[in-house]
Each structure stands twice: as C-alpha cells, then as structure tokens.
C-alpha cells in the first residue's frame, strides 16, 4: 500500500486524509519536515496560502519541500496548495515552492459570495465531477509540458506536469474520490 502525506500546518487536512483512506491508501499528516521521508506522495491542502507559507518558513520546511518536489515523487496541490506549488504568481515577485510550470492568480473568481459549485468534465478522471470553488485561484498560463485536464468558463482549473498535479477547487470536500484516486495511481506508478 502506498503512503500519501498531507501537509498538516493549516487548512482542510482531515478531509484529504479521509479521501485518501477511502481510496485505499495510507494517509500521514505531515507536521514536521523529517516525516516527508516516509511518504511516497504529498498533498498540499486547501487553506490560507499566506498562513501556510509563514508556517513553512517558521518550521524550516521550504528546502525539504523543494527536495521532495525534485525527487520525482508526486505532489498534488488543491487551491492554496496549487498557489504554493506554482512557479509564477500574478502580482508577486517570488513564487513559494516554484515547482510546477504554471502561472497562478489568487482569488481570481472573486470574494466568498462569488464562490461556487460547478460540474466539470476532467480528462483522465471522468465526467460530471462536482467541483467546489472557494475564493479560488486559477491557472492563467501553463508551460509547454503542462497537460490541461479541465477548464471552467475558459479558465484552466486542473492541470498536470509530470509528477505535479494542481487544481483550483476542493476535491476533498466532496464524496467523489475519483481525483484522489487519480493522484494515488500517479503515486503507485512513480513507486514502481
């Protein structure tokens, strides 16, 4: 059985753990950087990206996370997690991890009252996926090796680049585990 870590500094950690377990893998909540060594893949959950970044710095996680990203082990960012993984952020000079070759804009659908649910058809995952967007970011530009998996109103909301997977919305808030399963399959592939 593969082990999938969930960065547990802040945000929707419990929901990802439940989704991983229901998809038949072992979940580990990552609170300290040495725990990264024991997992085969890592999910960066939704939450507040500024808060998570501060805690990543405070607990000296940044170098270990970058190493993890370079190691070839799969990494999946949802919402704030996508912001943390992106190489480029609209309105900011510096990225966070700078791992995935996408340019991301924060809160790009508006404030909370504009937050929404929509059904998406996702390449490689399936149709009618219930996607929950909460003060969501979106991918404004993607590098040449990035495969676009889903769009909503012509904006890229789900993409993959090699071992990196990122989405604007929150698969962990639904009972539909197809996306988690997709990521776990990536982890299994990488471990072979």
């Amino acid at each position: 059985m593969v082990k999938v870590g969930v960065l547990g500094l802040q945000g929707a950690v419990r929901e990802h753990v439940r989704s991983i377990e229901e998809s038949g893998a072992e979940a580990v909540v990552i609170k300290t950087k040495d725990q990264l060594e024991e997992v085969d893949g890592l999910i960066m959950p939704g939450g507040e990206s500024t808060t998570m970044r501060r805690l990543i710095d405070k607990y000296d996680f940044m170098d270990s996370l970058k190493e993890f990203a370079q190691s070839g082990k799969p990494m999946f960012g949802t919402c704030a997690g996508l912001i943390l993984m992106a190489k480029d952020l609209v309105g900011y000079d510096q990225p966070h991890l700078g791992a995935m070759d996408v340019k991301v804009e924060r809160n790009s659908f508006g404030r909370q009252r504009e937050s929404f649910e929509a059904e998406l058809d996702i390449a490689g995952v399936g149709e009618n996926y219930p996607a929950v967007f909460i003060r969501a970011p979106h991918i404004v530009a993607a590098g040449e090796n990035v495969e676009i998996l889903a769009k909503h109103e012509n904006r890229i909301v789900f993409a993959r680049e090699g071992q990196f997977l990122g989405c604007s919305f929150h698969p962990e808030l639904t009972e539909d585990h197809r996306i988690t399963q997709y990521f776990i399959n990536m982890v299994k592939e990488a471990k072979k």
Binding site: Q10, G11, A80, R113, F116, I134
Partner: protein, 293 residues
Amino acid sequence: MKTGTDRVKRGMAEMQKGGVIMDVVNAEQAKIAEEAGAVAVMALERVPSDIRAAGGVARMADPRIMEEVMNAVSIPVMAKARIGHIVEARILEAMGVDYIDESEVLTPADEEYHLYKSDFTVPFVCGCRDLGEAARRIGEGASMLRTKGEPGTGNIVEAVRHMRQVNAQVRKVVGMNVDELMTEAKLLGAPFELLLQIKELGRLPVVNFAAGGVATPADAALMMELGADGVFVGSGIFKSENPAKFARAIVEATTHYQDYKLIAELSKELGTPMKGIEISSLAPEARMQDRGW
C-alpha cells in the same frame, strides 16, 4: 453553476481550520495580522473590551472600516452584525464581506429571533454555549460555530465551559440509540434531523472555533487541546504591548498546540497581557454570552 451552497459556505470555514482569526479596527492592524499568519481578520469599529468599556448600544461598524480592511489584505475579511438585524447583514453581504458573525458582542436587534441565514449567499458564524444552541444556529443556516465564551474579558473560563459542554453533548448524542434522539432533541431544543446527522457523522457538521476570552498563546493551545478547530482572538492581540509578536505567538501556539517547549519559548517576554475580568464580578446585564436564544 451554483453560489451560496452549503458545501461552498461550510467549505470556506473548513479552509480556516487550525488557524487564528484576529479582530482588527483598521488597515494597519489588518496588515499586522496577515503578516503574523492570521487565516482571516474580523473588521470592527472597537474590540470587545472597548465595547464593554464604552457601554451604550453597539452596532455594525462603519462600512468605511470594512472597506479599508478589505483593500488592505488578501486573506478573508469577516464582520459582525447584530443578532436578528437583517439589514446590517444584507449591507455586509452587499459590501462583499467574506463571512458574517451574527454576534452577541453587539447589542441584539431582535430579542426573539435570529437571522434566517440560509437565505444569504454569504456564510455566517454564530456563537454557542451548548449543543442545543449550536444545533439551532445550524438549523437557521450558520456554516460555522464558535464558543461564546465571555468576550472582552481576557478570561478563558467561559470558552472552556462552552467547548467542553458542546463536545460532551456531541459525544452523548453519538453514543445514543436512534430511538432516543427525539427525546434528546426535545430536551436540548435542537432539531431532530441535526442530531441524527451528528450521530451519523460522529461530530458536528460544521467547524467549531474557540472565542471569547483567549488572552495568551497558552489559552489558544488549551482551546485546541479541548477540540476547537481554530481560534478567534479579539481584544487580546491589539491590547497587548507588542501586537506583532503577540499575534505570531498565538498563531504558532495554535498550530503546534501540543509542543509545550515551543509554547514556553514563544510565551517569553510577551509583555503584560490584557488585565482581564473575573466573570463573577460582571453584572448580569454585562454578560454578553446570555444574549441570543
């Protein structure tokens, strides 16, 4: 495409878990809070301890303050409306505030009915002292709960009481047989369907933060230890001597609430915390937690 669904509203609160929401009265304080790692700010005209000291009727803040704070930070901005004040809540929603606190810190506008929060697109957080109150607020459409505690006192005892009470009652419901739940619903004054849902989930269907009296990093960690999903800090931060340092310390204590060496370290030389009020010295009409029904 649907806005304002339960999943969207409750999900917003899920994203705040493990974090600290700080009361601020201007853009400068909001930036200090964001810099310190707050997951959201509560924009107010006065913090609860000043509301307490000022007396009189406490209302929704001047919209200019909310606007100033929303322009200053990229984290979510919350604001308070009076209990039952439909129009204050609609104004906050129209302004684009991310979450409304229907709050007993302000003077209630209705002494019988709370807002029907399901009617709104914007999500609401409400205070609770026990499971009956919690379930009634969820029934009206609240997407997030917090303990009432006793705001503006710097005294954690009431928040502890409310968190323990709610969690003990949740455990009781989870352990009961389904055929016992209707009588329990009657006794608690709680909607039956919600108790059924709590029994199935094994927990409340929305997050429950601690609020009302958190004055130190150790207080914040205590509330997490007791099962809070996160912490609201009101008067504690910007009434302290070094707000930036204090705010950072509260955030870290909340994340690593069981790392006692760390909490010892970050509790050093924080300066004098707010003086605090012994609850028994409050006159009955000064108890904010008794507002709401």
